[in-house]
Symmetry: C2
Amino acid sequence: MVGSILVAFFEPVAAGSGIPQIKCYLNGVKIPRVVRLKTLVVKVCGVICSVVGGLAVGKEGPMIHSGAVVAAGVSQGRSTTLKKDLMIFEYFRRDTEKRDFVSAGAAAGVSAAFGAPVGGVLFSLEEGASFWNQMLTWRIFFASMISTFTLNFFLSIYHNNTGDLSNPGLINFGRFESENLNYNLYEIPLFIAMGAIGGFLGALFNVLNYWLTIFRIRYVHRPCLQVMEAMLVAAVTATVSFTMIYFSNDCQPLDSEHAEEYPLQLFCADGEYNSMATAFFNTPERSVRSLFHNQPGTYNPLTLGLFTLTYFFLACWTYGLAVSAGVFIPSLLIGAAWGRLCGIWLASIASAGSIWADPGKYALIGAAAQLGGIVRMTLSLTVILVEATGNVTYGLPIMLVLLTAKIVGDYFQEGLYDIHIKLQSVPFLHWEAPATSHWLTAREVMSSPVTCLNRIEKVGTIVDVLSNTSTNHNGFPVVMQVSENDEPAKLCGLILRSQLIVLLKHKVFVELAGSRLTRRKLQLKDFRDAYPRFPPIQSIHVSQDERECLMDLTEFMNPTPYTVPQETSLPRVFKLFRALGLRHLVVVDDANTRVIGLVTRKDLARYHLGKHGLEELHLAQT
Amino acid sequence: MVGSILVAFFEPVAAGSGIPQIKCYLNGVKIPRVVRLKTLVVKVCGVICSVVGGLAVGKEGPMIHSGAVVAAGVSQGRSTTLKKDLMIFEYFRRDTEKRDFVSAGAAAGVSAAFGAPVGGVLFSLEEGASFWNQMLTWRIFFASMISTFTLNFFLSIYHNNTGDLSNPGLINFGRFESENLNYNLYEIPLFIAMGAIGGFLGALFNVLNYWLTIFRIRYVHRPCLQVMEAMLVAAVTATVSFTMIYFSNDCQPLDSEHAEEYPLQLFCADGEYNSMATAFFNTPERSVRSLFHNQPGTYNPLTLGLFTLTYFFLACWTYGLAVSAGVFIPSLLIGAAWGRLCGIWLASIASAGSIWADPGKYALIGAAAQLGGIVRMTLSLTVILVEATGNVTYGLPIMLVLLTAKIVGDYFQEGLYDIHIKLQSVPFLHWEAPATSHWLTAREVMSSPVTCLNRIEKVGTIVDVLSNTSTNHNGFPVVMQVSENDEPAKLCGLILRSQLIVLLKHKVFVELAGSRLTRRKLQLKDFRDAYPRFPPIQSIHVSQDERECLMDLTEFMNPTPYTVPQETSLPRVFKLFRALGLRHLVVVDDANTRVIGLVTRKDLARYHLGKHGLEELHLAQT
């Protein structure tokens, strides 16, 4: 209740794992409040409440989001929430620089969560960055390493072994070192089959979650309803768990050597512990570990089957609630449970002592398959799992399993994060233009007519343009004097909405006479100080006299904006946007001089390859 | 002798490690014959000869080069050397596609050599790719994994354990699992100091090798001289090794438990083995492994000191000889030797049983420092070393050491591969434009005047332009009819030299009358078949009559080439080249229509940040 009240009433953007939001942010979509201090506080408190409350959630996604917020905050050297400006790092007060920091922060979050510094770097690259820059990658890697290092240092103090830095990450699935955990060529087809099962189950999870999310968007949008739903889920989770444990007969002997750290007797006889309780009443991380590493025979197949079934639906219902909660660990847990079940089944049909004797290996493969089927990451997930299990030799099977899960899953439904991004209707740019978009040209995609400004423009006109809600572009082409007839004007630059706002705020006007230049000298610092929350145009008061003044945009505009001729194909425009990180691209006529339109991210993100060929999406007007 | 004869007389491009050549290839520089079958054969035979001949060389660089050649060959589905065309994969007969394959091949090479699939991917990205594309990365990773898998499968047969795929890579430095190999916070400054030593020694190595290479370029350029030098080095290496072993008194007891696999008694008493011989007469890989893992006390400090000194100079002299040979393992060996020396010294001043008791850990750090100081790779090398030692916990110290080594080394001299690339005077584009190049504009950088072709051009003119050795550009702007006065013409496209050659070869001419269109229909396949060895213009015979014909370039040219205005700054031009993988960029006037110049890779690579600010390099006219 506390966790969902925090999220629903104070900061709705802190709901869920935060990975879709960070993905959007790194892609260049501006989601309000996603990297604010308040979000961080709500996220951290919220995830503690969710995990302690016993929901079927993990804390990894929120850790990644938290890392990103910390990085964004540190890089700016100030906090608007705390109204404090340390006057440092002013150089970083720009979108591109801040985005680099956020990607490093996300990587550091992965690194701390899974003890996977390389996996963190690849996560940032796979999910975020579009331009591979060696220096940026190196910096991200450095941040990841320092994150692991700091974590290890504090863990060493916690474990009363101060200064020993050889600890693994925060979540550790234990090393696979046993001799009979080796795998053989003959097992590869089995692994691939498990990958296919994982892909199918993952797609099922995503479809169910998609319907649920649609339902929530329609009917559960009031904060108090959201809190009530979260409480209902928590109550059902607890009830179902206890019922399962009560009716379970899976009592295992309390053997001193292989016992759990905290075995739960519950409804079992003395000297025994309840195996179902081990799965349900541990933290999900510990349950995964015990499924990976417990001796053969410590779990009853029936227990595992029932556990998989209930936990699958619980996790599916839980994701998307108004609580801070990740989906990584629940997915791994579901997969580990049915994977171990497969392992037990294989061991029962094979001779004892064979390579199939240990079900822990299959639990790992199942976990990878289920997680891959849900989130559809491949490269970074392989490396994260390899690093978290501390074993490089499982790299190949994990990779094959993730690839199979992705292919099978994509056949049915998109990945969970992509579903949630799409439901938010944001202009998210994928890696490549839709396959059949070659016949589309810039002319068909662009917004036109486009509002242009003159180099010397009347203040009143600028205020009107900025106030006009129908022209909500963030960039305006600057042109030579527009002629009286309808002919488009010659392009000479591009100016951003934020720049115009700062110019208006500082009243950088030229008197109509043009002789008395009373304007203040504006510096780069003025633009940086205003970043990232430029005031809305309504808050800037311009008197009637001032409306008659002129503004000279020449020295503030970008004099060489990127342009394309109108016949350029969509894939080419797409490539320019992705490779150069553009937000606006001016479309010019065949003579290469006159503005005829403007392509923005939203124009590109509209096109999407659906079941009936290329479809246009309706994107929210944010 | 055999190895150097092969290289010097048959395929000089197979000399050295091949990594600088692959780096250039992936950067977009065309080095003749670098990915041919003949090169592969010479490289493989050559490296076997070099290693068997006892030179101070490794076989890892050649493996990476071999992987790249195999990938390039497979992707084309034909071999010119064998005069066989399988008529498959014709889609890949383009520069960009082939380059993707080569980067995957290099990654597979790293993966096989070090058992480091992730390290291989990062190697390819760090050294090669400029545009991070998720699909490409995933394909490279897949290739790397399959390479490890195949290697493991064959190793399992070799080890009589068919089908067990849990083997490590081909070169394995053994797992660091002993308890006292953990590291502590207090050791971090020591590691950093060792990194600084490594950086300094690496820079010394590079400076000596640079002088040596200059000397070789001036005086040792005849093949027979090169063979004689290689034989001299081999003779000196053998003599020095034997002398060192003869005068060494480092005899260790043949203890049954910790003995070497093949201990050499040589000049020691019965029941003892010669420690110096262990270092000199094993393969370098096994020596590294024994320096990492042998018990404390198995090496005498004097032995290690002398070994470091001699091996340093031998390796330095060897690199750059006309033999196929890598520098990875010799660097690791030098570093492991002085690192272990540091470890022994630390253990002697610390109390017994402390965390400093095992010198193997310092051998690893020293090896990383020395290799980092020589080659200056960071991200990929960290991951390769982590994967090759199978231990993630050493990630942080290795990263810090490599970073320190790079910073210290860069202060004195560039990395070894960059030195060799620079000595080849190729137009290699670094990651970013030189720092002080902001005041340079496209107009100052571009080649001008540029040879333009008309849309309908006379065959004679085209042949003359292509034959003219002073205009050796590979791309020509196509313009509207050049007017009689000197005014530049309006741009309408760009055509490549290779396209013109194919057009001339197939005689795609329009009769002067223009009425009888006798030209053959040219298909994409004709261009692909000619790739990559377009015949030189001299081999195409054009009769005097044909010279008077016309060619219509309109349907073959690229109608929307990338252009920049002449005032664009150099860093921006640079960014376009790197992000979009351009080879030619047309510079237009302020009206955005008329061609005034052409920027090529060579124009950009000329500028270089030297000791006295921005310097211009003289690049070879290749």
